[in-house]
């Protein structure tokens, strides 16, 4: 018995050692890559790719701040990235190992620099907007042909929501996006850090709260596609994926996405390397692989999100590059806003308010 234990331990220790030398561990958002790329990466580089997924920035951030996550590449959004950089969670990128950096798009890099000055710690993976996805048939049946599907009116005006409750409405469980959206609706600065201004959001949600079936950040993709719900406030590409799944299922569900005309939040998901990454070399290899124009285009063509890679644009299918919901016109881009991270004290106010909105206490 003892011998068996010894051999087992030795084998485990050995495999753990060899694993760190040949593995790259990536922690990315769910439904966020063309999985063929994983196999391609392994074939091209001979490295084994371990690919795990999450569906909220908060989960990722907790892993980063706890340290020792074991991941080589992680994908936080802009504001979260900024805070994690100041906590010392990431290592600077080594540009000499990233020749494909030349492919990146300056329009996006300028915007991501507000979270990561000089883009020293991260590269943009994808970006998108937070807006409204609707089941066109059901919504028009309930609200009529002129239903305001391109406006925050649809989900914040109680008159509309009372009717929509019948067919199911989901909101993102992401206060850092749902509070700015409500502020935008009432004409306040969506990036406000003033607790008194943020508190006004409660009154926006109070009359519509009972019409919201669930606050969740990933369930709505399937729920929309299956026709279980008719409205979801969610992320652009996720809703477009739902549209695609419904088309594939041929279930008669027609999904449309709009970034509301009053202004929608623009966000950036950035790839970065944790300070304690077991395999930083492998991480750089992965980043360089992702920044390859054709690979990045394959990912965007698959998940319907815009990317920060200029060179990839010639490989994008018309469905993606030509869709203003994914690549908005320059004029529409001006209507999008970005936010900055809340300081700890304000964060507590925001979380507390969000709990109150969701649970009534």
């Amino acid at each position: 018995m003892r011998k068996l234990i010894l051999t087992t331990t030795a084998t485990l220790a050995l495999s753990a050692l060899s694993a760190t030398a040949q593995e790259v561990r990536v922690y990315n958002w769910s439904d966020y890559i063309d999985e063929d790329l994983i196999t391609e990466f392994e074939q091209e580089t001979g490295l084994k790719l371990v690919y795990d997924v999450f569906d909220s920035n908060e989960v990722l951030e907790t892993k980063m701040l706890a340290g020792g996550s074991g991941y080589d590449v992680v994908v936080p959004s802009g504001t979260f990235l900024q805070r994690q950089i100041s906590a010392g969670a990431f290592q600077k990128l080594d540009p000499s190992k990233l020749p494909n950096l030349d492919n990146m798009w300056d329009v996006v890099e300028q915007r991501t620099a507000q979270y990561d000055p000089d883009n020293a710690y991260s590269i943009n993976y994808m970006w998108g907007t937070t807006g409204i996805g609707v089941n066109v048939g059901q919504v028009k049946e309930l609200l009529g042909e002129d239903a305001p599907i391109d406006s925050w009116e649809l989900v914040f005006n109680p008159e509309n929501m009372d009717k929509l409750a019948e067919c199911g409405v989901h909101f993102l469980d992401a206060p850092a996006e749902m509070i700015p959206a409500a502020l935008k609706y009432i004409g306040e600065d969506p990036n406000s850090h003033d607790p008194d201004v943020i508190a006004k959001v409660e009154e926006v949600y109070a009359p519509v709260r009972d019409s919201i079936q669930k606050f969740h950040s990933s369930e709505y993709i399937n729920a929309l596609a299956n026709g279980d719900i008719c409205v979801a406030v969610g992320w652009s590409g996720d809703i477009l994926q739902a549209r695609d799944r419904a088309v594939e299922a041929e279930n008669g569900v027609e999904i449309a996405y709009n970034a509301p005309k009053e202004g929608a939040q623009m966000w950036f998901d950035q790839m970065a390397i944790p300070i304690d990454a077991p395999n930083p070399d492998g991480a750089h290899t992965f980043l360089n692989f992702i920044m390859d124009a054709e690979n990045m285009a394959a990912a965007s063509n698959y998940v319907y999100y815009a990317n920060g890679n200029k060179a990839s644009q010639e490989y994008l299918v018309e469905d993606v590059i030509g869709d203003p919901a994914i690549y908005p016109s320059e004029e529409a881009m001006n209507n999008l806003f970005t936010t900055t991270p809340y300081p700890a004290k304000v964060q507590r106010v925001v979380t507390r308010l969000w709990t109150k909105i969701k649970s009534g206490t």
Binding site: L65, D173, Q213, Q347, K358
Partner: protein
């Protein structure tokens, strides 16, 4: 020597798996948040020697516990968790007891198979089983389709994302924890006692109330605790099956930890949760001990 080792083992077990983690959580609950890895301060620095330990202890305080009293969210969440756990435990007992009773009354050669059937679901991941309930309970789910098909309802019922779904999930998940101890108690019961009661003029129902229930009392108590204790801190079932209005302390703890990044307050919430749970755990232990003594 051997005897000392035997006695020591359970205490070492308790020390390693309960006391040490608890002290770590307690320590964090007395700290302050910080934007760093790990996200709280102070951290213990043994390098600084005695002075380091003194500074460390000096920086701890009970601020986070007083903070919990300033917001009614916390006690409401504790209370709501206890309420949900109580209702769920009662429901599990109502569903589990007849099953255990039927198993104990089944022909002997059937019992092993029935027992296997009760345990079988554990061979599948808990998460997958809860997820499959989402498929069953959703608006377009199997349950609604079935009820529509047999014509019992004309509009799909909204069950998913309501407290009803949470209770269904809890009862389903914890049912074996209720069935097994009740079954063990019922199986040991001497059947001739019931015959004697009937001979003396008891109806079957009265005999059940006067003989079977009291004799299975210990099984019922054990089953109720085994369901009640984990249900209070339950997080997965309410977050997957429940709506946002289902307020449970597990969710509040999650939010403190993940949304506020406030490990110290999250730890304070956990410490209080543990203190609340210690009461039923001690009662449970006492019941077990009494039973052992009675069994001789």
């Amino acid at each position: 020597m051997r005897r000392a080792a035997l006695i020591l083992t359970p205490y070492l077990w308790l020390l390693a798996l309960f006391l040490v983690p608890f002290i770590i959580v307690l320590k964090i609950s007395l700290s302050d948040t910080a934007l760093a890895i790990p996200p709280y301060t102070p951290t213990l620095d043994f390098g600084a020697g005695w002075q380091g330990i003194k500074d460390f202890v000096g920086a701890l305080d009970f601020e986070n516990f007083t903070f919990l009293t300033t917001d009614d969210l916390y006690w409401k969440a504790y209370l709501s968790s206890v309420r949900i756990a109580l209702i769920a435990t009662t429901l599990t007992l109502l569903v589990g007891y007849p099953i255990a009773y039927g198993m104990a009354r089944a022909p002997e050669h059937w019992r092993a198979t029935l027992m296997l059937l009760v345990i079988l679901p554990f061979w599948t991941s808990f998460l997958i089983r809860v997820y499959s309930w989402m498929g069953i309970l959703s608006g377009e789910g199997y349950l609604n389709q079935f009820l529509l098909w047999i014509g019992l309802i004309s509009e799909p019922l909204t069950i998913l994302n309501t407290p009803v779904a949470v209770y269904i999930g809890i009862v389903y998940t914890y049912l074996p924890f209720m069935i097994l101890p009740v079954y063990a108690a019922l199986e040991r019961m001497d059947g001739s006692l019931l015959e004697a009661a009937e001979d003396l003029g008891c109806s079957r129902l009265t005999a059940f109330w006067l003989i079977t229930i009291p004799l299975s009392k210990n099984g019922i108590i054990a089953g109720c605790f085994l369901v009640f204790i984990p249900t209070i801190g339950e997080f997965v079932i309410p977050s997957l099956l429940g709506g946002s209005q289902t307020l449970m302390i597990g969710k509040v703890l999650w939010e403190e930890f993940f949304n506020n990044r406030d490990w110290p307050v999250a730890s304070a919430v956990a410490v209080i949760l543990l203190l609340i749970l210690i009461i039923p755990i001690i009662l449970f232990q006492r019941n077990e001990q009494k039973q052992r003594e009675a069994d001789g």
